[in-house]
Amino acid sequence: MSNATRTVPAEPTTSGPITAGPAAGKRRIRTGQERTNWPATAILAACTLAVLVPLYVTISMAFKTTGQAVDGNAFSLPSPLSFDSFVQAWTLTNFPRGFAISVFVSVTAVIGEIVVSALAAYAIVRNWDRRLFRWSFFYLLAAMFIPFPVVALPQIQLTGLVGLDNPLGVAILHIVFALAFNTMLFTAFLRSIPLELEESMRMDGAGTWQVFWRLIFPLLGPMSATVGIFAFIASWNDFMMPSLIISDPEMQTIPVLQKIFQTQFSNSYNVAFASYLMAMAPAIVVYLFTQRWVMSGLTQGAVK
């Protein structure tokens, strides 16, 4: 394994003014108080409007009355303030039940994706010299090129046959379809963990399971956070898979239930946006609490 050589701390040369070039060399002296790049800040601030403006419309629409929602002024403030849309959305979609099902699918998908992919990646990386494991990695990667819609019909029949035409089946399919990408992320990250750590633990008598759960899995933390967040967003927002796979209308997830608000012939903007807002809240809350790990996870994965 070449992992041993990578544990050497990065040489300090990379932190010097190499990238800045000779002309910019002097500017680098004021470390720690870099000047604000106003043009870039202005551009980025303008870019945030792409998110903030629709978000504003979503929130203000949700509090409008039906009459005000269709008056053609999306940007106007709601007056009078109406909570009626929330009540309607709540009862029309049977929100608590749909919400519970969505939470179940997402939690199962997140836990399942992290655990299964981490185990697979660990087995593959530590047995890279064996052909079976190497090829199984390529086999898994090949699955990245098969999107769900292509195999949707057989999946509907298969899940129906084995009794998985329910939220659990959707969660399992999420785990399986994300396996390829997640395993790739985990393998890249695992290669940077020195084998010596593991060897020292084995010397103290730890078995493979103990090594994995006590050493490797905790070390994979940042990458698990990244995988988990992608898994959460993908499964929470997914429309197609639950709409096709789940056969019992009482077990349907929130995004599918919400489709009745917007059809070709009718739009209930205020009810729809109230419902979207309620469905969006958990995703935003999860992101607020975990964005630190997402960011670190992304860079960790990139540098290896």
Binding site: G72, F104, T108, D165, L215, P249, I260
Partner: protein, 425 residues
């Protein structure tokens, strides 16, 4: 760099994980035990959004009224997927169209002709289902509500300018000219949404001049030989109506190409235009704005003879029971419940539909009352755009004609698409 390997910390995280997994499984297990009771459950698929609370209420009432079946209202399941899985809803209550007719054509829907209610449906309404491919010897579909569509017009704007409802093509053009001269937008166009062009301008102009049923019957017979030489073809039969359609676009609002269905409803609610080429489904949307309006409908006159006037209809809701359904008995019982006059008539009155039974009461809503005459006399057609398979992007082709594409060339392309599809089939 590495976090210290504290055994306690690891144990906790592992326990937390197991607890979370266990909790998730328990949650699922509990969700599985919904109170189903002992009676068989009938799945009732109905997804017309505005009618969801109405039918949910009916399902609850029926469940209470007897103790043999429980009706479960389903608005979310994907229909095609449920047929693929061989677990379709026990009773469907949906728009009947070319897509739905595929199930009928392949015999997936059971025969309902033995029900006494099937005989009470008006013959010419029941016959509408035969415009689509059928399955020989079966009455698989019972029309529940028919929607009649024609030009929506603002009565007050017409009265202000001393205009009467046009009954011939020349009168129509005159009305448009006079409105235009008076600074009023004659027609509100929503050309950003292709379907509004196809179901509005295109269907009305074609339906007013062409025998839609006969046209498609011949088109299917000619099949792959459809072309400039064939007896009927888009480029030959439809050219005149399409040219008139293009002529009408002279009278639309200048920003029509960037306006969608929602904008059109808002504009009509605010009285910004005199005419609007939409069906009664738009009334519900226009109503949401809560403005004081006096709207009516009239069939688009396409010829010089008022006797040619016809309205566009579609089977907005139809009832059917799939062949593989396990709950056919319950489904039929609920179907019969829905077809009782005291259940069916209030639905049609509330949602601006026309009754399908022979003794259905006439509509009373002033917005659609002018179409009753045509409906009673059987002077109706189904939209020409509804009989083109989705494989041919007809709505987009028609939209491009409105946008300035050459009508002849575009219709020729539709013929080529039709012939290619027939060759492949």
């Amino acid at each position: 760099m590495l976090p210290p390997l504290t055994p306690a910390g690891t144990r906790v995280s592992r326990r937390t994980f197991l607890a979370a997994a266990g909790g998730a499984l328990a949650a699922f297990g509990l969700a599985g035990c919904s109170p189903a009771g002992t009676r068989p459950t009938i799945t009732f698929h109905q997804s017309k959004p505005e009618a969801v609370p109405y039918f949910r209420d009916l399902a609850a009432k029926f469940t209470e009224s007897q103790d043999r079946f429980r009706v479960l209202h389903d608005m979310a399941t994907n229909l095609s997927a449920s047929f693929v899985r061989s677990s379709p809803p026990d009773l469907g209550c949906l728009n009947y169209n070319l897509e739905m007719a595929r199930f009928m054509e392949r015999g997936a829907l059971s025969d309902l002709s033995d029900l006494p209610e099937a005989a009470s449906i008006r013959d010419d309404v029941l016959d509408l289902t035969n415009w689509y491919p059928t399955y020989a010897g079966r009455t698989s579909v019972i029309p529940y509500s028919v929607m009649a569509a024609s030009v929506i017009y603002n009565r007050r704007i017409f009265a202000e300018h001393g205009l009467t409802v046009p009954t011939t093509w020349d009168e129509l053009i005159e009305v448009c000219e006079r409105l235009k001269a008076a600074g009023v937008t004659p027609i509100y166009g929503t050309f950003r949404d292709p379907w509004t062009v196809a179901q509005g301008l295109f269907d009305y102009t074609v339906g007013g001049m062409v025998d839609v049923r006969g046209f498609y019957k011949k088109m299917h017979e000619i099949g792959e030989d459809v072309g400039p030489e064939s007896e009927v073809s888009f480029q030959k039969t439809m050219l005149e109506p399409v040219q008139r359609m293009v002529q009408l676009t002279k009278y639309v609002n200048p920003d029509a190409s960037s306006r969608g269905y929602g904008d059109g409803n808002t504009a009509m609610a605010q009285g910004q235009a005199a005419m609007y080429f939409q069906g009664p489904w738009a009334f519900g949307e226009i109503e949401k704005a809560g403005t004081d309006l006096d709207l009516g409908t009239f069939p688009l006159p396409m010829t010089a003879d008022p006797a040619d006037l016809k309205v566009r209809v579609n089977i907005d809701l139809s009832l059917w029971v799939p062949e593989v359904s396990n709950g056919q008995e319950g489904a039929r019982a609920f179907l019969q419940y829905l077809l009782q006059p005291e259940v069916q008539n209030p639905y049609n009155a509330k949602f601006l539909g026309f009754g399908t039974v022979k003794d259905a009461p006439p509509v009373t809503d002033p917005r659609i009352v002018e179409m009753q005459k045509y409906y009673d006399e059987g002077r109706f057609y189904m939209g020409a755009s509804q009989f083109i398979p989705n494989t041919i992007p007809a709505a987009n082709y028609i939209q491009s004609i409105i946008g300035g594409a050459d009508p002849e060339g575009t219709l020729r392309r539709m013929d080529a698409d039709w012939a290619r599809l027939a060759f492949r089939a």
